[in-house]
């Protein structure tokens, strides 16, 4: 097996191990019901993290993810109250996500400001816009929402694949194609691997950067749409801190923050690992919610150490 698949294998192994640990600790844990529920619960964050994966592979970062999720939900809920069909408002918000991301990418490249700062301003801007629209949780009452929540594919063993999880798998497949089989995907890896060399090789930096953040905006907006449909509401504080969850999922999925190394497919399992920790702690019932934070941090630490050891063994280590 090729060495670049090692981190991915490690991530999948950890996920399976955690699933088995859960199964050993609790009855009924090892079932497609739990697995399907976990996929449905975490679909929105995994979708958002897919966009973050591309941004991180390019050596950048996108902090506006969580606010985008909240903003999309709030606008969709208000448009629903105004009589819009959820699909129409979703299409509009996806277009908005693409435009907003493209603008962020343009500023980052044209003004040569670090992505961290520009997307931080984006975080404030979108969260502020949420509060401007309304301060309360607004329900989405359109019958389509119920139909969407009810749609699913039954799995063997009593579980089912919810519609949000189906959307997640579709866009994941699209992202894998974009990442590994298009010129744009190759350009992203090239910029993240070595920006100066990419410039010399004639990679269109500006176009790629703008498209990259536009894609990040699209995926986080889609995450917001799924979240709004899944919770059937728009809440201005929704998605707070989710940008960090997304980054954690990407890192757990084996993508290096130094850029140039990583796979979208790993992000799926990175997100699921975070989900399974929360599920185990839910199952236990007596464990404090504080443990979710502590175990999340601990796992992040262990993974980074493991990644460094694996990377160091075949000289992919980069100087920081």
């Amino acid at each position: 097996m090729r060495e670049r698949y090692y981190p991915l294998m490690a991530t999948i192994a950890v996920f399976i191990a955690l699933f088995l640990v859960g199964g050993a600790m609790y009855k009924h844990f090892l079932s497609t019901l739990v697995l399907g529920q976990m996929l449905a619960d975490n679909a929105f964050i995994i979708i958002a993290a897919i966009g973050t994966t591309f941004v991180i592979i390019s050596g950048g970062i996108d902090l506006s993810v969580g606010s985008m999720i909240g903003f999309v939900g709030v606008v969709m809920a208000n448009l629903d109250a105004a009589g819009w069909h959820p699909l129409a408002s979703a299409a509009m918000m996806l277009a908005f996500g693409i435009l907003f991301g493209a603008l962020q990418g343009l500023i980052i490249d044209f003004c040569e400001i670090q992505p961290f700062i520009i997307t931080l301003a984006g975080l404030f801007l979108l969260r502020g816009s949420c509060f401007m629209v309304n301060l309360d949780s607004v329900p989405i009452r359109h019958p389509f929402v119920e139909a969407f929540a009810g749609a699913n594919i039954p799995l063997p063993g009593g579980g089912f694949l919810a519609s949000s999880a189906i959307v997640m798998f579709v866009v994941l497949a699209a992202a894998i194609v974009i990442g590994h089989y298009t010129r744009f995907g190759t350009n992203v890896y090239a910029i993240g691997g070595d920006r100066a060399s990419a410039v010399l090789m004639g990679v269109p930096i500006r176009r790629t950067t703008v498209m990259l953040y536009a894609m990040g905006g699209f995926y986080s907006a889609l995450g917001g749409v799924i979240y709004a449909l899944y919770t059937a509401s728009g809440y201005p504080l929704a998605g707070t801190g989710n940008e960090l969850t997304a980054i954690a999922a990407v890192v757990l999925g084996g993508t290096l923050l130094t850029g140039g190394v990583g796979m979208v497919f790993g992000t799926l399992f990175g997100g699921l690992i975070l989900g399974i920790i929360a599920t185990i702690i839910d199952f236990d019932g007596s464990l404090n919610g504080a443990w979710i934070m502590i175990v999340g941090g601990l796992l992040l630490f262990i993974f980074i150490l493991a990644q460094r050891t694996i990377m160091g063994s075949f000289m992919l280590r980069r100087s920081t």
Binding site: C111, F124, G128, L244, A290, L298
Partner: protein, 350 residues
């Protein structure tokens, strides 16, 4: 007459050049932003500049800007040092939460308050040691290394609250609250503490070799290493300083709120602190530490916040106005955009 004109013509370019040089100076744009906000306040916020003495202490919006901005300023100073070494410290909010939790816990155990003060500072140092070890000795990227403590730190704070049952994490301490909300003469104590810490940090960076070491490690860690500077120890010291600064901010905020609330204490303070450093002209690419400019950055952010509250706008506007002002300051600092604007305007004139 013609001679005068000739002199004027000869002098014009240097003035223009000096003006251009001034506009390019790093201190100009943040200061311009601060002045513009203050001028707007003079028109719209009634009595913004009135400072009066109430109950033996200074009172007024201007004092309030310094008073409320002080914890952020403390955190931002530490952040400026870390960013100077090409690092970043996302965990400062969590460090504040842990410190406040430690204070409340030891208060319940009945330790002497002075010891608790030292314990809180020690906790900050310990957190800085953890971050610094990850960054300097395990070579983990700063943003991720500090993300670990950021994610788990508030959980640790909650666990500390649970040590004594966690039912009543409030406390009162004349010593700590004196440091936070008290005043010496007319001046609030926390301003004196902030000024003292600033002076200490300034002396440490500008009157010892440490400042030069920090900046050289930030500019080029490998070159600094080859020049005989132990880049690892220097990086570690930056995170220790940041931990200590966050610890002191934790004491001030914790004592101010009289309680340990790990979930919400110091929330988003890391973002404000990073913004302050960047507004002050510090580059995330490292290599420069501007302490004074960082304080100006904090003042820009805090004046903005106070002005929005004073102006009667709903507080929901706070974030969006902050984002827009920050964006404008950042865009003005960008050479590319300024050049494009100059081209646009000169093109129109011709």
């Amino acid at each position: 007459m013609s001679v005068d004109r000739a002199i004027a013509a000869a002098e014009a370019p240097p003035i223009a050049r000096r003006l251009t040089a001034l506009l390019a100076h790093r201190a100009v744009w943040p200061l311009v932003a601060l002045v513009i906000i203050l001028v707007i306040d003079a028109f719209f916020a009634h009595g913004f500049f009135r400072v009066r003495v109430v109950e033996g202490r200074l009172f007024g919006s201007l004092v309030d800007v310094f008073y409320r901005g002080m914890p952020t300023a403390l955190v931002a100073l530490g952040m400026a040092v870390v960013i100077g070494t090409k690092g970043i410290d996302l965990s400062v909010g969590s460090i504040i939460a842990i410190c406040a939790a430690v204070i409340a816990w030891r208060m319940h155990e009945g330790d002497p308050h002075f010891v608790i003060l030292l314990l809180a500072l020690g906790t900050g140092l310990l957190c800085g040691l953890w971050n610094g070890t990850l960054v300097a000795f395990l070579d983990i990227q700063p943003i991720i290394a500090t993300l670990i403590l950021m994610v788990s730190g508030r959980g640790i704070g909650l666990m500390i609250n649970l040590i004594y049952g966690g039912t009543n994490p409030s406390f009162t301490s004349p010593l700590l609250q004196g440091l936070s909300t008290g005043h010496i003469g007319l001046i609030p104590t926390r301003l004196i503490i902030g000024a003292g810490l600033f002076a200490l940090l300034w002396l440490l960076l500008r009157r010892t070799a440490l400042g030069l070491f920090l900046e050289s490690v930030g500019a080029n860690a490998r070159a600094a290493d080859l020049a005989g500077i132990s880049a690892r120890l220097v990086k570690l010291s930056a995170y220790l300083i940041s931990g200590l600064c966050a610890g002191s901010a934790g004491i001030i905020i914790g004592a101010d709120t009289h309680t340990s609330d790990p979930v919400s204490i110091g929330l988003y303070i890391e973002l404000d602190a990073i913004l302050a450093v960047v507004i002050g002209g510090g580059s995330l690419a490292g290599g420069r530490i501007f302490l004074g400019m960082t304080v100006i950055g904090v003042l820009v952010i805090q004046t903005l916040t106070t002005s929005i509250l004073m102006s009667g706008l709903p507080p929901e506007f706070n974030l969006i106005v902050k984002a827009i002002v920050v964006l404008i300051v950042l865009l003005l600092q960008s050479n590319n955009l300024r050049a494009a604007l100059v081209r646009l305007f000169s093109g129109r004139k011709r």
